[in-house]
């Protein structure tokens, strides 16, 4: 099934994308409202939450260039030493810029 990108067609596509995205924003919470939150489920969603971050970042590091790797490595080191997010992020971005500039 295809939609022509006339004005109406584009509106329909945007609406479809909106509904699909909305389903992802609402769906997890909706499903959870039928689940009794036992300590086990609570533990599951808590570890899952921080694992989401790892699962975004690790493939980003492996698929990225030297600049991406430098950014993530420097962010990690600064964050673990200073424990402050803003300097860590700034240092990471700076590292990416420097590496890409010098390569």
């Amino acid at each position: 099934m295809t939609i022509e990108t006339t004005t109406g067609g584009v509106l329909a596509l945007i609406l479809i994308m909106t509904l699909v995205t909305l389903a992802t924003r609402f769906g997890g919470v909706f499903i959870m409202s039928f689940v009794r939150i036992s300590p086990r489920i609570e533990s599951f969603i808590n570890t899952m939450a921080s694992s989401v971050l790892i699962a975004i970042i690790v493939p980003m590091a492996f698929g990225g260039d030297a600049g991406a790797l430098a950014a993530l490595a420097v962010t990690a080191v600064v964050m673990l030493t200073l424990k402050k997010p803003l300097p860590a992020i700034a240092a990471g971005i700076l590292a990416a810029a420097l590496v890409r500039y010098s390569l």
Binding site: E4, R25, I31, S50, A55, F62, G92
Partner: protein, 245 residues
């Protein structure tokens, strides 16, 4: 709202302070938005259409992927699959906030979920790990991120990309660095480290061998399984859940 079934109280002052807290990252979102706006008009979307997409969809990576599939005709099912796959992390993100979200009325619950996105979720989820309940950042932070995305798209549509080459300035790594800083700022114990290791391995395996865009969900679920079977020894946690379920 002084309802026993929905005890979570939104603090307007905190919503404002969270909004301001997310301002720095929102500036980067403006730059991404501009890149999207530029890409969208180059792919043949009209200015209003591009703005409408950013306003309603508000999910950057999936919007970039969708306009990549744009043409005179667009196949609906592939677009739906790609948008769903990229945004399926929202399912898990929303679920992880449920212990807090169940304490607000359904209208507010689903209302603030409209603004759920990576950055504000990462803050809320991370603070929840250390025992702080913060839905205000979803609302306040989400509002400013949403507005930044719309303003950025508008700038990109009418003025082109703001930066000649955002990548050379490391701008493409802002969100990655932000999310990494959030992860490392959270609780770290052997249980979490094992979960992260498994999540990393599973996400890489999925990234290599499973269909595109499934790696976040695969990795996150793998990490969650560790939590399911390896319960934390309760130190001084919050009072028991379940009173209102």
């Amino acid at each position: 709202m002084k309802n026993a079934a929905y005890p979570y109280q939104f603090q307007p002052a905190k919503v404002r302070s969270e909004l301001i807290r997310m301002l720095p990252i929102s500036l980067f979102v403006v730059a991404f938005g501009a890149a999207f706006g530029l890409a969208a008009v180059q792919e043949g979307l009209g200015p209003i259409e591009s703005l409408l997409m950013s306003t309603l969809v508000f999910a950057g990576a999936s919007q970039f992927a969708a306009i990549d599939m744009w043409g005179a005709e667009v196949s609906v099912i592939p677009v739906m699959v790609v948008v769903f796959a990229i945004n399926s992390r929202h399912l898990l993100m929303g679920a992880s906030l449920y212990p807090m979200l169940k304490d607000v009325t359904p209208a507010k619950r689903y209302g603030i979920l409209l603004l759920l996105t990576d950055a504000n979720w990462a803050v809320s989820a991370q603070e929840y790990q250390s025992g702080k309940r913060n839905l205000e950042v979803i609302l306040g932070g989400g509002l400013v991120l949403w507005l930044a995305w719309i303003v950025g798209t508008w700038l990109g549509v009418y003025f082109g990309g703001l930066l000649q080459n955002p990548k050379s300035l490391g701008m493409d790594m802002v969100l990655g660095c932000f999310l990494l800083a959030m992860a490392l700022g959270g609780k770290k114990n052997p249980r979490v480290l094992v979960a992260w290791t498994l999540a990393a391995v599973a996400s890489l395996a999925a990234w290599k061998w499973l269909p595109a865009n499934t790696h976040v969900v695969a990795g996150a679920l793998a990490g969650g399984v560790v939590g399911y079977f390896w319960l934390e020894k309760k130190p001084e946690e919050e009072p028991a859940e379940g009173a209102s379920t």
